[in-house]
């Protein structure tokens, strides 16, 4: 029986801060995450040719690891997390993933032994549970998927994560058609069901291997919405619709922590401030330091309550200032140094507010994710915490209300288009049933008809 969150970890939004979480997590070599300081989390991708063989891949990750560790020592950074997001070969062949983890960890141990630098290794297993046409969430690939976690954990990975994809087939269809119920069904219902399944299994592996069951992100859905929404002038999706998807995603990603994960949540989970407010787990975030990987409208704001500060991903190659992993880890480390000074000098709340305010009015997405508002979304989720559907719907409605309040204050300005998209999504939400079973059966019928690739058996339905 999973324990669902029905109350908030923090008594008020103002208690939330970067570098501090209610439940810090010890990991790897001397590191403690969310225990009063922030730590850079570097993420990288091998060059395309490196994937040709296991030997080449291992070599590439050795270079990456050595470069990054060396730079951290050169600039006097006290701590670092390395995140290896698996390329497909590493998860489909767990022995490859394990070989990489082992090679990286060996180098990190050398640096830790020699310099005492606190460090940990996160491996983010690829969600390989699909074949060309269909998701295959429970099919043949499930065993390989779990084996990849276990092998990497045994070989040296300290933190276990994944960006899981449950519900994505329904979501992909719905987001391009402004189908609010479909968004809610894909993320809040199907996504949550899949999360509950996989995270119980990952938690068991973490327990068995003495590693940290870290957390997930709704990259597959909420970030897809954010990317389709794009910049201020893009015309592919209303940003007011994208933030509703994001709010729902918090209810979904929370399921990992209910099934046994303890954080740090994944960097690209822009829903993480909401999750921290409810669960108190430490979180990784990315923002202006991930412009090497994508553009978004909240480069500073996301730093507001982070415990790990990440660059999302960068391809390994040379730059004027060293290799990319050296340049970006250095940028991250200096950002962390600034936050850590703020923490020590009693200025952390001011810095947090400056970060939040610099993007709060830039876009409705940032407005809702500003920690004061994120906290309100958290409350809406916790209110019906036992019911995945209702709490998702609550989060969605709350995010609409927050945007409306922002508009009424005059500070958040919307285009007429965004305003009417907001009105539509809210009207759709308010009209939905409160009965989770009815919602399930209505949407099951509907999406079985409309989405050819939707297979209910993926969710045990």
């Amino acid at each position: 029986m999973v324990n669902k969150y029905t109350s908030m970890a923090y008594a008020k939004a103002d208690d939330m801060l970067f570098g501090q979480s209610k439940f810090p997590v010890k990991a790897g070599l001397g590191l403690e995450i969310g225990a009063g300081y922030t730590t850079p989390e570097l993420n990288y991708a091998p060059r395309p040719q490196a994937g040709k063989s296991m030997e080449k891949l291992v070599k590439e990750y050795e270079r990456i690891t050595t470069d990054a560790m060396a730079r951290m020592v050169q600039i006097g950074a006290p701590s670092i997390v390395l995140e290896t997001e698996h390329v497909e070969q590493m998860s489909n062949n767990p022995s490859w993933g394990a070989a990489v983890a082992h090679a990286q960890k060996t180098i990190m141990e050398e640096y830790h032994d020699e310099y005492g630098i606190k460090c940990a290794l996160r491996h983010t297993i690829g969600d390989i549970r699909e074949d060309r046409d269909y998701l295959q969430l429970r099919g043949d690939k499930y065993n390989t998927f779990m084996e990849a976690f276990e092998e990497c954990a045994k070989a040296g990975a300290d933190l276990l994560s994944v960006e899981s994809m449950g519900g994505k087939e329904v979501f992909d269809y719905s987001i391009l058609r402004n189908d609010t119920a479909g968004m809610l069904f894909g993320i809040g219902v199907l996504g949550s069901m899949d999360m509950e399944m996989i995270w119980a299994d990952i938690a068991a592996i973490a327990k068995k291997t003495g590693t940290v069951c870290a957390g997930d992100t709704d990259c597959a859905q909420a970030n897809t919405a954010m990317f389709i929404a794009g910049g201020l002038l893009d015309k592919n999706l209303a940003h007011t619709t994208a933030i509703v998807a994001r709010a729902i995603s918090a209810a979904r990603s929370l399921c990992a922590y209910e099934a046994g994960a303890v954080g740090p949540g994944k960097d690209c989970g822009y829903e993480n401030t909401i999750i921290k407010s409810i669960s108190g787990v430490p979180i990784a975030q990315e923002g202006k330091t991930s412009t090497c990987a994508h553009s978004d409208l909240m480069g500073n704001l996301t730093m507001q309550c982070c415990d790990l500060w990440s660059n999302e991903s960068v391809e390994y190659h040379g730059e004027f200032g060293g290799t990319t992993v050296q340049c970006w880890s250095e940028t991250l480390a200096y950002d962390c140094s600034m936050m850590n000074v703020a923490l020590k000098t009693g200025k952390a709340k001011d810095l947090r507010d400056i970060l939040a305010l610099s993007d709060k009015f830039r876009d409705p997405q940032g407005y809702v994710l500003a920690y004061d508002n994120a906290y309100k979304v958290g409350e809406a989720i916790a209110k019906d915490g036992n019911n995945n559907y209702l709490r998702s719907k609550n989060a969605a409605i709350e995010s609409c209300k927050i945007v409306e309040e922002g508009v009424n204050s005059g500070k958040l300005r919307l285009t007429r288009f965004e305003a009417s998209a907001l009105a539509k999504v809210k009207a759709d939400l308010v009209a939905l049933t409160d009965d989770a079973d009815k919602f399930m059966s209505d949407n099951l019928t509907k999406f079985k008809q409309e989405v050819a690739v939707f297979r209910p058996e993926n969710y045990g339905l």
């Binding site: 395309p48 060309r132 402004n178 201020l232 002038l233 999706l237 001011d350 507010d353 005059g410």
Partner: protein
């Protein structure tokens, strides 16, 4: 929490989208573009609104009044969709509206076909695919939808499509255009292979490539490549080809923006 005064916000960020928003509402703008014919108007309007049932009702009314189903495809459905694409291109409406309208239009075409034995003529065939090893297919789905909306017959090979399967499809279908989408630096090299295998067979079809990882420099490295930055460029490239520009250099001249 610290806060900003209302008057201070403008110095920190500019909501250019709000500042530049067009005066006219989308509905007003659409109203100006609908054809005036009283049998066609309701079809066009129902397409714009994305209401499949209304499209069918309006089509039936036009058929009852003597219009030929086959003509309604070009004269009503495509015209209605033209209104939608024009508004999208002008930044007045957003993509989900286009997708819903395209669904309604395709449904309408099926309906017209079911009412006649005539076979409609398409503007041309386009083969779309996502590179081998790559599952990121939303961009491709948008490309395919916009091409269909523009009246092209789209053969969608899906995602993670092996190079040889693309070659087979092109050999078999003889499209006017092939499109490829790749979002990963690791998968986009498949485009070069496709290019080389097509050339080996002497097939010189323009190969429009796009997607997150792909850039103009990369696409310019192989002979058939034409880079497209936005999904909306795909129907424009196809239109240019139909209008007679089949030379790759000329297409690049027109569509390469950087």
């Amino acid at each position: 929490m610290l806060d900003l005064k209302l008057e201070d916000i403008d110095g920190i960020l500019v909501r250019y989208n709000v500042a530049l928003e067009k005066e006219m509402t989308p509905d007003e703008a659409a109203e100006e573009l609908y054809p005036k014919d009283e049998l066609i108007y309701p079809v066009a309007k129902a397409i714009y609104e994305g209401e499949e049932d209304d499209v069918v009702d309006a089509l039936q009314a036009a058929i009852d009044a003597g219009k030929k189903p086959i003509d309604l495809i070009d004269d009503a459905l495509m015209v209605g969709m033209g209104v939608v694409t024009q508004l999208y291109d002008e930044g007045i409406i957003f993509l989900p509206n286009v997708m819903m309208s395209a669904d309604a239009m395709l449904n309408g075409i099926e309906y017209c076909k079911s009412k006649t034995t005539d076979v409609p003529e398409s503007k041309g065939k386009v083969v779309c695919h996502v590179a081998e090893g790559d599952v990121h297919d939303i961009g491709k789905n948008i490309v395919a939808a916009l091409l269909r909306a523009a009246g092209y017959d789209v053969i969608d090979l899906g995602r993670d499509v092996p190079v040889d399967e693309v070659i087979q499809a092109v050999t078999k279908e003889k499209p006017i255009l092939l499109t490829g989408t790749a979002l990963m630096t690791t998968t986009m090299y498949a485009f070069k292979e496709i290019n080389d295998k097509l050339l080996e067979k002497g097939i010189k079809v323009p190969f429009a490539c796009g997607g997150g990882a792909v850039n103009q420099d990369f696409v310019s490295q192989y002979d058939l490549g034409v880079y497209g930055e936005e999904a909306a460029d795909a129907p424009k490239i196809a239109d240019a080809i139909v209008a007679g520009t089949t030379d790759i250099a000329a297409l690049r001249e027109e569509f390469h923006k950087h």
